[in-house]
Amino acid sequence: MSLRPAIALAALLTALPIFASEIAADQRRSGYTFMAPDTKAIQDDDTANPGMLSVLDGEQLWNSKIGSADKACADCHGDAANSMKGVAARYPAFDKGQARPVNLEQRINLCRANHQQATPLPYESRELLALTAFVARQSRGVAISAGDDPQLAPFVAKGRALFAQRQGQLNLSCANCHDDNWDKKLAGSAITQGHSTGYPIYRLEWQSLGSLQRRLRSCIGGIRAQADDYGAPELVELELYLMSRARGMPLESPAVRP
């Protein structure tokens, strides 16, 4: 980039309002709608969507007895098609024990620790992604309702503040791109509105499944800010705000993204 466009870009971005206008409910669009037909076709066909390989792995894990309790997820929750339908659509959800929201990955790990007496799975491990994908798959098509619980209100507000907070060497907030400039392109790629409708996603760039926090961390790295660690309260609050922002949109998990 030569200097002049760089200065123009910097001037444009500095001129953006700090508190951006939110996207109207009827103008919200899933990241799916920004994709090329070929990429859409991968998501549309369950035998072409590599995220479904993780769902298969997750189904096996769901039925495997583990931990000192020697229990499988299925021993308590039974058939996931019934018991897990709609669950992913309302996460992150309030956890009484911790008095704060936990995301789906954290819920799975809490269940492992408390009920299966097994060691928690590391973030982005094959097993945790597989279980999350399997659970989320049961809610495909269900309208997102995360953040409806009134106990979550202060955490949604924190997440929203983080979304609007300029940070990093580029001094950008999430809203600068995803509320104000979602219809433009960045380095040839669609910016998109940043609705978290399909996590965990199979991202072609990653060549693997990844969580929403992985996506958030790489976005935060992109604006040259220091990303919080996996599972940090700040990232969970941001997740919660994003899910409440996508309220009513159907879940697509496991979605495919470029």
């Binding site: 066909d45 072409a48 590599p50 479904m52 390989l53 993780s54 072609l204 060549q207």
Partner: protein, 106 residues
């Protein structure tokens, strides 16, 4: 056994051209990458894929490092008889996986 997804029509009429779609989970590590410590990451790919229809090989492909992770292969054949499709993937480090699918040809 690594996860595989195969999509073969359950039924077909004799003489129909049918599409067969397969997806195999594999990292397809090229062998050209290095870790942050500078050590080469050894190649780990699927090297061959084959499909047999009632014992007769009808499709075969060699895979190379430029193929993306979780290779997806789709091809067409003519439905001749009821029976079984057998799929086999072979790769580095002794990787070997199989899958089967049945078809009824009326």
């Amino acid at each position: 056994m690594p996860s595989a997804l195969v999509n073969v029509p359950r039924t077909a009429r004799r003489g129909d051209i049918i599409e067969i779609k397969t997806l195999m989970s594999h990292i397809m590590e090229t062998g050209y990458r290095h870790t942050s410590a500078g050590e080469a990451v050894p190649r780990d790919i699927i090297t061959s894929f084959a499909c047999r229809y009632n014992g007769t090989e009808i499709f075969r492909a060699d895979f190379f490092p430029a193929i993306a992770a979780n290779p997806y292969v789709s091809f067409f054949t003519v439905a001749r008889d009821s029976g079984k499709f057998e799929f086999e993937w072979i790769g580095d480090n002794g990787f070997s996986a199989t899958a089967t699918a049945a078809i009824t040809v009326g």
